[in-house]
Symmetry: C2
Subunit: 627 residues, 2 copies
């Protein structure tokens, strides 16, 4: 069944515009974030991150590459894509992009080919290295930027460049063309979105072809194995996300787009199954994905070492992209649950408070205090110490920028029955005949008040997500008459004729709580962690007395954690003395050296490493006896 | 103080020939291994491994490189070194090396330069990539092969090539030459050994210069940081082994050689301190070193994940090299303890029983059954699944071969007071006026009988190492009159006038025992492992009922493990049912699903993966309640 590719939503200004699916996205012209946690970060994005990225991309030559001769080309093979990600972010943010777009236009070949690293005299030929060349991946980000321009401005130079590139891709890799795929998925979701933005079926056909081609071993086997590129088995056969995490999640996003537009229920079910497997067995408490440093990849089931967590920021971006698509397709709140977890604990963790340095990977346990990176030095590697201003591979900063820029597009949806609010922030929503105001101090406070400013004179349903993290503690929905009823995790719904001035309140239990890991996660057996609302907490050495390090902490989860007004949490425990033993394996383990009973302060994970070099851990060993 | 560089031992046929130090090594002409565990493996080495390596090096072109034109050069940048390692192994084993040596000779430049990957027209210039080019590293292995020829045959073509190369190195990198070091340490120990083998002081001076130069940042900082190349701080300042494990251990070995020959107590103490730190906090139960896959490197303290253990076979080889040097220098049995652990659990684990496939890395926990590698396919990567016949990077097979070939050289020493036996095997020792026969079924059996066949007519001391693993259980020394006395870990000594026919017996407690990890090793908290004598044990899925996997096992360490005559061990435990949970972090962890109480069979770790694809784990979660 072929799609008509017309967005089913009212707005065109949406990050993802499926023509069918359970829910219809609301656009950036329908949802405004007006204050609170995310408004502050979006302000930092507009005022600092966008400029920071642009300045660095000028300084390291990645923008200049589009004008430079071959000999002066700088950066890694995928540097073009970071310029495109930045352009996408700027476009969603309403910032002028003409100068950069002009540079890009000057580098496009007459047949639509565009890449600063291949195809010119003195460079490798076009498409001579599909495994690592990233040419199609770069187009993917170019096209996403072009789609953002089509949706926010109705078109422009960037969109024209993207369309020429997309036509070139279809001509080159179509049914009669090169039967290959890119080593890094991304073109799939981009082409599907371009089809949606333009109504052109052939872009969807090409996206479908790329999704179907993958998994048949057309890419060379390499050091990391075929699963690294997800080329080990067809998408519709896989049972869990695997291989390079960002690749896996971009591919899955593209597969959802294709499945939705082509009505391919089997493909959609396959991606849901992969998501379920990854969330049940391959995801960190933070929502972070990817536990291998070597290949930036998912580990085997339950291989989730906190101290070697890779949890790349871009995998967080891609995971939110995937969850959002699955939410639109199915309407199931569990996808919004994971998106929330990932937004608050991965996306919000990467940038420093001033928006001028970033985590590339987001470890859950830092054992050594780092040194402060110099402010104007590009670091060669993605180390999980302090945030760095720029990396040789700097996909993460512009990826954070585009996510923050389009964030209002991930907050709410509509369907025939009403409006669904998935993420909580001070916001204003106007869609169809409905206008809503949301006021909340979430996630510090669990109360979310929705005020109806305008509503049709007929019954409709307001749906508010009750997060899965609230499991086990009552949440409450208070109707305009002040009647409270308990609501369970999932969608709390109120159906009625709403009147202007009606207030609906959701009360979520954001008291801090202890969490225990599945015993199959070997790396954190015998530990506990604290979560408060969607926020994961951590111990950071700067909060410990006497310059102690976090590995000396043991906590007592029999005492409930206590939330403080400043956003910190206090738990009971002890700070032991570090012993020394010439050999760490004994017939009976020495009991951990007991320390004095003391209060231990925990802070939100996203806020760590903003106060100088420190050690940090999320999962804390317990005082319960180790045999 | 300058050394006279004359070996203090009686024999020249030794792997390491210090001119001073607490103990004097016995040579391969003084110690013969006549039966048992190591004799079987040495037989496999002579009959299979050496040929296997040679055939593969011919097939993949690494030997041919020495004759081939530039365009046909094959393999990685360090492929030359593997040919040299094989030559060293063949030389110690007494196998003819002429054909290969001839090829190598043909590639040496008139000025002594020798490397198939650099310096010829169409290649990168000599020494243009000290970080990754491995030129000095390759010389190091060439020189070690040359030293083996000097020591076993008094010299020959290989030694001449090595000497020319060494002279070229001294001329190029001497005090007035290029002030650089190699990205991969190895030349240091090789030059020191060449100085010992030739009496030429300048080779020692050059080795000293290389050791002193390292740690001053002459190598470019890269993705893995300066510690990867141990170029982050001078050797004499470092407190623990760090960075790439093989590099770190080869460097430390060279530093010991230099320290011993130059009487540099500070440098020796620095390496001892680094060894202690690594053993206390960065070593697996098997003796394996290196917990990072990404950079084949040591992790931070207590980062020892069993399922991501890298524990490269070559790091095991290098660790034994280092421990042997420290034992000779200090006489302390703890160095022989670690060497024993590493020999039985890393070196013995790498080759398959038939000597035709190998582990590159030696994981302590395998979660997925692998597939059987094809017998004639070089695998691109070092995966911890089944052993593979050959790797794109195949340092490990010839490194195992040279270690097995020279193994008798690691068994025993002398000093002014007598003979010290450090490792137990059926063996014959003849040195000075003393001849000893050793009979034992070690490590299956703890009884070691030493028979005196010849002895001087004056008192001397026989010293037998009581391994540290015997701690807590009595070991016994039985003198020729049958008197038993308990002996503690360390050196058990008997001083007297021995007579031909005298029998001395050591009785070591090889009953299997439970071991518990230091609670600071997060990755194995709440688990236990079994060791029997020096052998670490593991559960392997092929020994479980109903095709179950090892991750379903929980063991009960309150019941002592029971040794069986076939070498296996039986422990009490249960095999649980695997549950499923859509999200693995809960307010209270589900108790592990209890299974039926059952016996669980464990096998020696070195023997795993010889019975088809399987899952395996060394550290077993316990049935003790997880909160």
């Amino acid at each position: 069944m072929k799609s008509k590719l017309k967005s089913q939503g009212n707005s065109l200004v949406v990050p993802v515009a499926p023509s069918r699916g359970r829910l219809r996205p609301l656009g950036l012209d329908e949802v405004r974030i007006t204050g609170g946690f995310w408004a502050r970060r979006r302000e930092v994005n507009t005022n600092a991150i966008l400029d920071h990225c642009r300045e660095w991309m000028e300084r390291v030559g990645w923008i200049g590459n589009f004008r430079a001769p071959v000999a002066e080309r700088r950066g890694r093979e995928f540097a073009d894509s970071d310029v495109y990600k930045l352009l996408e972010a700027m476009t969603w943010a309403g910032v002028e992009t003409d100068t950069i777009t002009e540079a890009i236009a000057s580098a496009q070949e007459p047949d639509g080919y565009l890449n600063t690293n291949f195809g010119r005299p003195g460079q490798q030929p076009r498409y001579s290295d599909l495994e690592w060349g990233h040419e199609l991946y770069c187009y993917g980000h170019l096209i996403q930027a072009g789609v953002a321009e089509l949706r926010t401005r109705g078109g422009g130079e960037l969109a024209k460049i993207a369309l020429r590139a997309a036509d070139h891709v279809c001509a080159t890799f179509g049914p009669d063309g090169v039967a290959g795929v890119c080593g890094h998925a991304e073109i799939e979701t981009a082409l599907a979105e371009l089809a949606r933005a333009t109504g052109e079926q052939r872009y969807l056909d090409q996206a479908t072809l790329f999704v179907e081609r993958r998994g048949h071993g057309t890419l060379a086997d390499g050091e990391f194995g075929r699963a690294y590129h997800q080329d080990d088995m067809p998408v519709r056969q896989a049972t869990v996300l695997r291989g390079h995490a960002v690749r896996a999640l971009y591919l899955a996003s593209g597969a959802v787009d294709v499945a939705v537009e082509t009505g391919d229920e089997e493909l959609l079910a396959a991606v849901v199954r992969q998501w379920e497997g990854a969330v049940a067995r391959r995801t960190y408490l933070t929502g972070g994905m990817g536990s291998h440093h070597r290949d930036e990849a998912f580990g085997d089931d339950f291989v989730l070492p906190p101290d070697r967590a890779y949890s790349e920021t871009c995998a967080g971006v891609a995971s939110v992209m995937l969850s959002w698509r699955l939410l639109l397709a199915t309407g199931e709140p569990r996808f919004a649950d994971l998106a929330e977890r990932t937004l608050f604990n991965v996306i919000a963790t990467s940038p420093a408070e001033d928006g001028r340095s970033f985590f590339y990977s987001n470890t859950l346990h830092r054992r050594r205090r780092g040194t402060v990176p110099e402010a104007d030095v590009q670091v060669p590697r993605a180390e999980s110490s302090l945030r760095a201003p720029w990396f040789a591979v700097s996909c993460c900063p512009p990826n954070v920028a585009r996510t923050l820029a389009l964030l209002p597009g991930y907050l709410a949806t509509t369907d025939a029955g009403g409006v669904q609010i998935h993420q909580y922030a001070d916001a204003e929503i106007t869609t169809g005949g409905i206008a809503l105001r949301i006021r909340t101090d979430y996630p510090s406070d669990g109360r979310v008040t929705v005020t109806v400013d305008r509503a049709p004179d007929r019954p409709w349903t307001l749906s508010l997500r009750v997060p899965a993290w609230a499991e086990g503690t009552p949440a409450w929905l208070v109707d305009p008459e002040g009647r409270r009823r308990p609501v369970a995790p999932g969608a709390a719904e109120l159906t009625r004729v709403f009147r202007p001035g009606d207030e609906i309140r959701l009360e979520l239990p954001v008291e801090p709580r202890w969490l225990r890991p599945d015993p199959r996660i070997d790396a954190i057996r015998g530990t506990a962690a604290v979560q408060r609302g969607p926020l994961v907490y951590c111990a950071e050495s700067v909060d410990l007395p006497d310059d102690r390090d976090v590995d000396a902490i043991r906590v007592d989860p029999s005492a409930p954690p206590e939330g403080r007004a400043d956003g910190s949490v206090v738990v009971a425990g002890e700070i032991g003395a570090e012993g020394d033993d010439p050999w760490p394996y004994r017939p009976s383990a020495a009991p951990p050296t007991a320390g004095d009973r003391t209060d231990i302060v925990l802070v939100p994970y996203h806020s760590w490493a903003n106060r100088g070099p420190s050690t940090m851990r999320v999962w804390l060993p317990t005082v319960e006896p180790t045999p």
